[in-house]
């Protein structure tokens, strides 16, 4: 992945591409591309680096969250220098993310993971479509549009693919609320049990 990143930076110096490290043992690192550069980076990956196959497109919903970080600072208290550890809470704004999994059949290499992030989760949810670059992304971008509500600018046929057209929600978003339409559930989850109990008491 490092070579790919260096090749992109050498060929497209204006493009913003940052590595996203995966600290888990699988170490599947990925590249985060600025949405305005995505089309140029994708075409470079396909035409110059041989990433001719996009196997998977998916989405991630990042809600706004607080990150607690431990910061060590030095302070002189009463003439003695001390190290003080502090926990600092930092707000990370929410966004939606699209993930592309790329392989090169010609070079027998892969997996390269490409990511794009939207500005926020409400109104600024547009990313450029990579369907013109990899035709196989067409249905999967429609699925991401359907389930996450990410708008793909330049997609040839951006319609819902799984849910019906009249549906207004995006079920894979973390704040999606499922319709209250079952009386019991085979494996009792507390949420459903509480809902059914409330409904039974209301009707009694």
């Amino acid at each position: 992945m490092t070579e790919v990143l260096e090749a992109i930076r050498a060929a497209l110096p204006a493009a913003s591409v940052e590595p996203v490290n995966n600290p888990s043992p699988c170490a599947q690192h990925s590249l985060l591309v600025r949405t305005s550069d995505a089309r140029a980076v994708a075409e470079f990956l396909r035409d110059s680096l041989g990433f001719d196959f996009c196997s998977n497109v998916t989405g991630v919903d990042w809600q706004a969250r607080k990150v607690h970080e431990t910061v060590v600072r030095r302070e002189t208290v009463g003439g003695v220098e001390k190290e003080i550890q502090e926990t600092v809470a930092r707000e990370v704004p929410g966004c939606l993310e699209v993930v592309y999994h790329l392989f090169s059949i010609a070079k027998k290499s892969g997996l390269l993971t490409l990511r794009m992030r939207t500005g926020d989760r409400d109104s600024n949810v547009s990313v450029p479509s990579l369907t013109p670059v990899w035709k196989s992304a067409e249905f999967q971008e429609r699925e991401v549009y359907d389930l996450f509500g990410i708008h793909f600018a330049g997609h040839p046929d951006l319609r819902r693919i799984l849910m019906w057209d009249e549906f207004s929600d995006h079920p894979m978003r973390k704040d999606y609320v499922t319709p209250d339409d079952c009386e019991y559930e085979p494996t009792p989850h507390n949420g459903i049990l509480a809902r059914v109990k409330a409904r039974t008491e209301a009707s009694a």
Binding site: L162, M163, W164, D165, E166, F167, S168, D169, P171, Y176, T178, P179, D181, C182, E183, Y184, E185, P186, P188, H189, I192, L193, V196, T200
Partner: protein
Amino acid sequence: MLDEDLRADLQKRGIFVASFEDLYNWGRKNSLWPLQFGLACCAIEMIATAAARFDMARFGAEVFRPSPRQADMMIIAGTVTKKMAPLVVRLYNQMPEPKYVIAMGACAISGGPFKAGYNVLKGIDRYIPVDVSIPGCPPRPEALLEGLIKLQEKIAGQRLFGPGRARHADAGNPADYPVPAYGAHDLEPPLNPAVFKPQLLRRDAA
């Protein structure tokens, strides 16, 4: 009605006595043409049931019809998604009376393993009357045959006249059922209260 002992006695003497209802039901129960459509993995078992090894033709139900106009029964074989549910109800409405429904497998009965899902109908009995439910995930072909035999028994016992007669023989019963519409969050209405009576599961505290 004829006394059963007298009927058996007469039959021993070579005289076969039957009511019109018996003859009529005997004829139609042994020639049930299913509507040919499958929704999920249960359909694979349904296909196996119809094929050589299990041979549904032994019970007179091998003529799978691709048109609802020619079908007597509908095997709901598989998960009914909310996107598919209006189409299933419409197919049921297009079938001529008398018509029967077999809900095959956990999904068609209640949503099955997908019961907590946002996109799965929690049982087709929310919209159309179901005659036989076959549990299983998916049910084995033997189970489908057992379900078919149960349906034949039900048909054989149906009265055509008088009180307690079959659903289709009563002009007061609806011939078709409202097709749900695609709503912004769910199907509208989410169930047909004339067909579906919710049963609450009781989990008493131990």
